[in-house]
Symmetry: C2
Subunit: 211 residues, 2 copies
Amino acid sequence: MNHFSKTAIQSWERFYRANFINCLSGFKSATLIGTINKENKTNLAIFSNIVHIGAAPALIGFINRPTDAAPHTIKNIEATGFYSMNHIHSSFIKKAHQTSAKYAEGESEFEKAGLAIEWKENIGVPFVAESRIKYLMELTEIVPIKHNGSFLVIGAIQDVFVDETLIDKDGFLHIEKACSITSLGIDGYYETSLKARYKYAKPGIATEAIK
Amino acid sequence: MNHFSKTAIQSWERFYRANFINCLSGFKSATLIGTINKENKTNLAIFSNIVHIGAAPALIGFINRPTDAAPHTIKNIEATGFYSMNHIHSSFIKKAHQTSAKYAEGESEFEKAGLAIEWKENIGVPFVAESRIKYLMELTEIVPIKHNGSFLVIGAIQDVFVDETLIDKDGFLHIEKACSITSLGIDGYYETSLKARYKYAKPGIATEAIK
């Protein structure tokens, strides 16, 4: 096993270091975020740093890079208060990745990346038609992270669209059956296979798999 | 496709809802966090809501539930300023899951779950010997999330321990070659397989795989 110190890592070439550090924290849940601006132009962008914050109330957060690097999504969310989150499946990874290109404001990544817009009744933000698991979020809070100018954007789950065939009898959602991918680093995309689920752990009781 | 409204989701039985909501945000990077308290008692706990915050400076965050639900890790981190993060591999998922049981303060999950402590020279917190990818973190900031009493704990990467054979020529770290797992929901663990890496996306240029 090799040891890399903070000093050594800081000395690495910028992109080499970015790849390494982005992978180190592990697999992520790359997701497409759909928004609309005040001029009714749609926007779609891939975000991978998503965190579950709580189930009651149902809150999910994501990290938005500093606004000079990633301006459109956060600006649209601030303006309208709503956004869609759309799972990425194996069948359209390449298109999802293309949304990370720096298009000018007002150019829609839906069109540029070749993904179809889906509008839902009474909802003002666009969804990804190809996505089989998607949900509407309402902005709760934007928490600035002072150390590097990024933001934790927290939202509350409003409406979920998903086939009920993916939901297990105890509420577990088998996203792998919809071929939702996981991502690693800046540009790696993975398929998954379920190894095991384990029952709620208690001291002194042997860990047991859920059948 | 079925539609579940916020009101419908709120009406669900507590554990059913927790399973569903925890899965909805996608795959996560379950990681074992090793700490020590002021009385030199070791602690080990599984955390799954990890976020990459930035590469320069190299910052990683994780969500700690409210302190009445998950008191030990965050208290130890506040007391000592340091913690280890250890990847979980397919070979010891069951043991890693067992660390989520509510052991009394001072009972070490290393011993209870059957994972070996590894001490590193000049580092005061314990690592998981079985883990092939692990790193030392120094606390940067604890950000309270007011909506549900949880915390975003942000740390800076200090020392990384990993086989250099896992590192690609451009810095990409192939954690799947060490069988690092990804998690879903509260209790699901998955193996992964690399589908593709894609080059930095640019407007007007076709998305291209990295060979």
